[in-house]
């Protein structure tokens, strides 16, 4: 699916299915037509070959007939059927009963004029005088060696050529078919790009100003409100990061460095602390020391953020999250509502959301997937509806 790669779109599985069906159908039709034409051509060539053989076969037949004639005249003295090393032959009476045969074939089609069967040519002629009662004579000779070699070679060459042309046409047809899908995605991407750009400055202003407020100096009711504002603007900020990542990821270079994962994870959990607190989610961790990865720090943070924010977003009130880090990888287990089994394979698709009551664009896991792919990390999602989801990132 080169075409799809070129366009850099992540098609949904249903769309992919449609495309595959189209391609299969197209290839099938193309091959069917090609096979039909090839068959016609082969038939033509075979008939041509047979026509070329006709004259010499006719001469052989006449020789045999004259031998039959002399046998007929002397039949009371001589009863040996005339044989010839160049051909086999057989004679049949007018009721198509075989009088004598030296043919390989058991059955001969006497209604034909000349035909090819099992690599042998059969030539049939009707006698004018029925010597020995023979009305039909059949001559059998081996077909010229490898007469069809050239035919096959030509068929392969032209067939391949035509098929190539059909593939090119199919490519353009596919283009045509995909254009509306591509346009929709491009439109959405551009919309997000434009929107995010306008969001950046105000969000940063809000966040930095909230951080400047000293909460201890405020009374608890006000502090609570400020906290909520902080959570809300962080959520927007995250979303903003995701969107910019999505839109600009192709143009964003990676700045790889050795990242200590424990520190990073603790930092990210701290970042979500307020959100966790607001949903009364308890988080337990089991993080081993001194585990590092050579990775872009921002991207790793984004990856963790996305999984963590999903674990919070889809969790129940007073739920729990378990976060572990070991030399093999990261495990994040939540007690949320889980994903239906038949939908798991779709989670990495862009703009897929399973629950519209929760905010988001359905891009989080798509980002996880792209980042994981870039650094050859394995992402595995196990989930059971109403029991929770477990995401494993291993390396």
């Amino acid at each position: 699916m080169l075409a799809l790669k070129n366009w850099d779109i992540n098609l949904r599985s249903s769309e992919k299915k449609t495309l595959w069906s189209f391609l299969l159908l197209y290839a099938f039709l193309a091959l069917l037509i090609l096979a039909f034409v090839a068959f016609l051509y082969y038939d033509l060539e075979r008939n041509l070959m047979l026509q070329n053989q006709k004259e010499s076969l006719s001469n052989l037949t006449n020789e045999q007939i004259s031998r039959l004639k002399s046998l007929h005249v002397n039949f009371e003295k001589e009863q040996t059927y005339p044989r010839d090393e160049r051909f086999n032959s057989a004679i049949y009476d007018s009721s198509l009963k075989q009088i004598f045969s030296t043919l390989h074939a058991k059955k001969v089609n006497l209604y034909e004029d000349i035909y090819l069967e099992n690599g042998r040519i059969y030539f049939i002629k009707e006698l004018e005088s029925y010597y020995l009662g023979a009305r039909y004579i059949v001559i059998e000779v081996p077909a010229p060696k490898r007469w069809d070699r050239k035919v096959y070679r030509k068929l392969l060459l032209y067939g391949g050529l035509i098929f190539g042309v059909l593939v090119v046409i199919g490519y353009f047809l596919l283009n045509l078919l995909l254009r509306p899908i591509r346009e929709t995605i491009v439109l959405l991407d551009r919309f997000i790009k434009d929107t995010t750009h306008e969001l950046n400055t105000p969000i940063n202003a809000i966040l930095s100003n909230i951080e400047m407020i000293e909460l201890e100096t405020l009374d608890s009711a006000l502090a609570k409100k400020i906290k909520r504002m902080s959570i809300a603007s962080k959520t927007i900020s995250n979303l903003y990061d995701d969107l910019t990542y999505l839109v600009l990821s192709n143009h964003m270079g990676s700045h790889d460095e050795s990242v200590d994962l424990k520190t990073l994870i603790e930092e990210r959990i701290e970042y979500f602390a307020l959100l966790l607190e607001s949903k009364k989610i308890t988080i337990s961790t089991d993080l081993q020391e001194n585990i590092t990865l050579i990775i872009d720090r921002k991207k790793m943070a984004k990856l963790i953020d996305n999984i963590l924010s999903n674990a919070i977003k889809y969790n129940t009130l007073q739920g729990s999250i378990y976060f572990s880090l070991s030399p093999e990888g990261i495990v994040i287990q939540d007690s949320g509502r889980g994903i239906e089994e038949n939908q798991i394979h779709q989670v990495f698709e862009r703009y897929t959301r399973f629950d519209r009551s929760v905010g988001g664009f359905g891009i989080g896991l798509n980002i996880v997937w792209t980042i994981a792919k870039e650094y050859s990390l394995h992402v595995k999602i196990n989930s059971q509806a109403n029991q929770g989801t477990c995401v494993k990132i291993s390396w």
Binding site: S95, K97, Y131, L132
Partner: protein, 116 residues
Amino acid sequence: MRENFMVKHILFLLVIGSICCAKQNVYEQNCLSCHKELAVKIDKFFYRYLLKYSSEVEVKKAMIAYLKNPKKDTSILQDGLIQRFGIKKRTTLTDEKLKESIDIYWDTYTVFGRLK
């Protein structure tokens, strides 16, 4: 008494004769007996029929038709021979006997099974 003896004698001879004759089949009795005298052997006629009519059914049909109603037009003989022999007389055999003779005639000269 003497006449009586003669009758018995003749009857005896007739019985012996018919027993002797019965050893010959219808074909030998009714066809060969006459054809032996002809200058052209009966097998030549057979192969002429074969040449013209090909299959067993056709040959037999044509022969029976000719023997029942010999005509110059339907004869397979050349004109010279016809002039020499004259057209033969209609057969006096019953259909059954005629068919039997023709069958024997066919079996005697047929090509089937004799070609090597």
